[in-house]
Symmetry: C3
Subunit: 208 residues, 3 copies
Amino acid sequence: MIDLNFFAYSATNDIGLLAFAISGAYKGINRKLDILGVIVLGFLTALGGGITRDVLAGKSPAAFLGYNDIGFTFAGIGSAVIMYLLIKKDISGNIIIKISDAAGLAAFTVTGAVVAHQSQFNIAGIVILSFITAVGGGLISDVLTNRIPMVLKEDFYATCSIIGSLWFYISINIGINQNCAVYTTFIVVLLVRVVAILLNWHLPKLKS
Amino acid sequence: MIDLNFFAYSATNDIGLLAFAISGAYKGINRKLDILGVIVLGFLTALGGGITRDVLAGKSPAAFLGYNDIGFTFAGIGSAVIMYLLIKKDISGNIIIKISDAAGLAAFTVTGAVVAHQSQFNIAGIVILSFITAVGGGLISDVLTNRIPMVLKEDFYATCSIIGSLWFYISINIGINQNCAVYTTFIVVLLVRVVAILLNWHLPKLKS
Amino acid sequence: MIDLNFFAYSATNDIGLLAFAISGAYKGINRKLDILGVIVLGFLTALGGGITRDVLAGKSPAAFLGYNDIGFTFAGIGSAVIMYLLIKKDISGNIIIKISDAAGLAAFTVTGAVVAHQSQFNIAGIVILSFITAVGGGLISDVLTNRIPMVLKEDFYATCSIIGSLWFYISINIGINQNCAVYTTFIVVLLVRVVAILLNWHLPKLKS
């Protein structure tokens, strides 16, 4: 049995939540939403992927349950969004934000894969649930601000999550210890994403 | 135990459904959809928030269950949309429609809060579920007509729902009788919204 | 008891999945997404309707369960999308693709109606679930590529699904054998859609 709680509410997950909240809030500021809109986008970008993951797996959203640890998480997201409302600068290119975002991408990929595995989903379920957990919040905030989601158009971003979830599936099926599968998946996604940032990788675009 | 059925299918809820259906149908007419598109938008705007609420709470959508009372509801929504197709005027500024819409906002906020409370969700769950129940239908129809949702951009609208759900959470936790919490929440949302309409309140906008 | 598995994973369903995947991939190519975006749109257009159906019915998505038959399905969708990435021509007007798409529309309408019936949903649940199963994937891919969904604007497409699900509801309630209801619903949707293609039917548009 994978100790998901230990992992999911670990530091990396919370760092990712804050980075996602900031990126969501920025989209709202950029599109001239009002204060409520910016706060809603911040929370939805941070929590939307995990909520969708839990709904697809037939569970109550983890973000809606519990009262202790999760209070700090919400306070953190709220603080990040409100501080960002005061700054109003695009800090998404900042290397600290980018690395925090990569940590979130890795942590969310893992929780998606673990929930799918615990729900006995097949390889499609594992890849799709990891993908949605990791990039679902960003998809939702892009759609709400009337844009084609960035992850579908450019950058080497969601691909890191797909590589990680395929690695998770393979490692579980070749009999690697489950906790080991979790940690190596986290490392694979984080490493590939950091390399993609450093080397400025992009997927080829297509012309119709 | 809160008598949700009594409240949820009460007159205010149905008035809200009709007002939401009209606002959805208008978006469709305004964006030059065909007749089917206008009807679909009318129904989705009226029912989308409640369906999303039930899915998030792990329940079968209330709109899909039962055969008696709910038949009148659907007939009402359908009639509102079809009558509106014949009129084709923007009546969303009409004060009767605005008050009906405010009644719907209040009733939907309450059902979201009650379902979240019955699912033992935390404060985030209560606020988010109330928010989605109340404005989810409008969000869906804005997204489907390729617009940034109005509630994120302007007006003092979703904020009334958030104030109401926070009041619900507080009143339940300071030990107020549950039915009393339900009715005061309804009154809080309705009052704040009507005052916001009369005084033309808006949240501050942001510039990037 | 309707033998859904027999029908749902039959040849028509798989033909529909491939046609839907191709139409989704084309939207991605047309909007200049990268390779990942095109593949994601192909899979989401094919699987999105069925996944939404299962979530609304409180079930685990069928696409995420099972390992045998479903492997061929995914391999088929992937192959269709990848072959299409190599061709990059708009083949959506091709009569073979149009008929395959009509077969998918009919098969998906049936599975939506059957799942709704098995969940003891009312007539609204049957119509809405059939509608979402049949056109949900297309709605998702249109929203993700920042367009007003085609099915809301033009063509006589989703209407065929609605006619079929109403027929299903009527036939079940007048006591027709359930397997017979399934097959006649399939035939009704397919026939109406093929006639609509041949006679170039459109619903009337509206002007505001």
